[in-house]
Symmetry: C2
Subunit: 364 residues, 2 copies
């Protein structure tokens, strides 16, 4: 039997340093648990632009299509801010999402108990919080045509198009209902059906999928602005939230920040099953490339490590091994180890990026 294959794309900023820690974890599973992965590595984002003049080469794109799972660090940085839109670092990531057709972006917003005091929210509002935001990732205003900057009369106009077909909404709704069944059995769908026709269709299709296929799951609908409010007020009212690409971008970032555990939060982007039954998949931390702290050993590798845990669970059906890795992370936190983003409390032990990775390996 061949080993499962992984493509690692560390990307920019702190991407390479957090990914180096994930390599240690992967190696541990290979030697200690007899779970060897065939690992290849490539470039995405600004570093790919620097090397090849494009944020993602066709070769890397092909490689991503051929492996069992992709693990990505982060892309972007001020160095690339003035690049033409078509070669911005983000285009590499967006191309991966689009061409791999990773329509369901799973973003857990979870508050780690040891870190609840890092939240700007009161402890009782966030302690124990565990919600899952399912964001549509391959359509909507991120990809709709027409788009661009055009001359019109004597001035320019910037245009983007929000566009959702019924089947695009159906499939991500199914992902949300499936997840809900394995969690709190509740889905809240968010759009602006009071203002946008694409939101009217969204609401109708989610309701239909619910009524026909998942009547056992509790479904509610909320306008996205009210959703933003409710996330800030009492996030524990939610279990699974399903929403479109753009709303999901804002809402999941707000939710992640609210937990106080931003440097800890992983994400999974899943597509349709491949021939081997595994879904197309890309895993990445929720945090960005943080160019201001890159290369200083300050980055927290846990979000990226937990992204690998999600890979174990969703790509390789190794839920027990994922649990093991997550437990190791919890232990290290309980032991008081903290990277620079999590300092401030009394009695904790400051560690560097690589010390944190080593500690997780030790805890395994």
């Amino acid at each position: 039997m061949t080993n499962p294959s992984l493509l690692i794309l560390p990307g920019d900023g702190i991407g390479p340093e957090v990914m180096a820690e994930v390599r240690k974890i992967i190696d541990w599973f290979g030697t200690k648990r007899d779970l060897a992965f065939d690992v290849s590595e490539g470039l995405v984002g600004g570093c790919s632009y620097d090397a090849h003049g494009t944020p993602l080469t066709d070769e890397t794109m092909e490689l991503a299509q051929s492996v069992d799972a992709v693990l990505l660090g982060a892309v972007g940085g001020p160095k690339y801010d003035n690049l033409d839109f078509s070669v911005k670092p983000e285009r590499g990531l967006l191309r991966l999402r689009k061409e791999m057709d990773l329509f369901a972006n799973l973003r857990p917003a979870q508050c780690f108990d040891a870190l609840a005091d890092f939240s700007s929210l009161k402890r009782d509002v966030v302690a124990g919080l565990d919600i899952m935001i399912v964001r549509e990732l391959t359509s909507g205003i991120y990809f709709g045509e027409p788009r661009g900057i055009f001359e019109e009369g004597n001035e320019r106009v910037g245009i983007n198009t929000q566009r959702y077909t019924e089947s695009e909404i159906e499939r991500v709704a199914r992902s949300a209902f499936e997840l809900a069944r394995r969690r709190g059995n509740k889905v809240c769908s968010m759009e602006k059906a009071n203002v946008m026709e694409s939101g009217v269709l969204w609401r109708e299709v989610v309701q239909k999928v619910h009524d026909e296929e998942y009547p056992d799951v509790e479904l509610s609908h909320m306008y996205a602005d009210a959703g933003a409010m409710q996330l800030c007020r009492w996030p524990k009212q939610f279990d699974v939230i399903v929403t479109d690409n753009l709303f999901g971008d804002l809402l999941s970032d707000a939710a992640a920040m609210l937990t106080g555990s931003l440097g800890m939060l992983p994400s999974a982007s899943l597509g349709a099953p491949m021939a081997n039954g595994r879904p197309k998949a890309l895993y990445e931390p929720v945090h960005g490339s943080a160019p201001d702290i890159a290369g200083q050993g300050k980055a927290n590798p846990i979000a990226c490590i937990l992204s690998f845990a999600m890979a174990l669970r969703y790509s390789f059906d190794l839920g027990d091994e994922a649990d093991r890795l997550e437990a190791a992370v919890e232990k290290v936190l309980a032991d008081g180890l903290r990277t620079a983003d999590l300092l401030g409390e009394e009695g904790v032990t400051p560690v560097s990026t690589s010390e944190m990775g080593d500690a997780v390996v030790a805890a395994l």
Copy 2:
């Protein structure tokens, strides 16, 4: 000299009851300060649909165009949820905004000291918070064409269009810079220039207006998802935020909720100057129509009262009178009077909607 004219549109849900309290304030200014207004009243939203089959009649639209300022309560409610998109209550409000060309929506997110404990955020994160979100209100995805639900192949597709011209961005940017000069002299502009071309144009034009006309104001740019995060993390880093219609909808609602003072927050929507030099203007509370508590004397009238204070300031150049009204509100709060939305602390005095209105009048 004729009196300045006001059109009052109470709308749905708690709209009528909070507006009744504003009428008391208006009367007080007429009798005690010799500031008489010619007040007319009309229907908007669901109540207009019930009476006329449309959320806003042409007659009311004309009236709104002819007065010095419009004061609106709130629109919408579950009763109207299944109405056709074109006659939903919200279309009445959107038609007012669009036809009056109210491009600059000013949404202060302010934390009232007496209420800081109502925030889900820690006290030190929100106490003293005073930021101003300037939301573009007449363009973007709310109004862009094409829009609608169309047949395509064998399924339907929902489409909306984000569309911004240079001049639309310029004028709202100017509003933001002007406001910043009278406040903390700092503007942060938010878009998704890393993903949307309309955001690229937005960023470029805001920067140009800054460089050519407001180089003295400090300007920064932030992606809207990072903006949502930063609002949740440390909102005091901001002074004025300028953003588009859709991002502004979510971000201003999140910011309002974070203050803990949602029932207290007013808004102003301003257009170009009319022949008499006053801007076209509509004032409304940030909160919605709250149909669940309508008609029970539970609603907090202060947001609507403070919307009238904004009218005094921005439409009638009566900044001193606005200060007086705002001071009266602060006094009533300091005295411990609280409507149902603000109960929970020890030692406060619960009051009904109309008792709160009376108390503000007495404090004047």
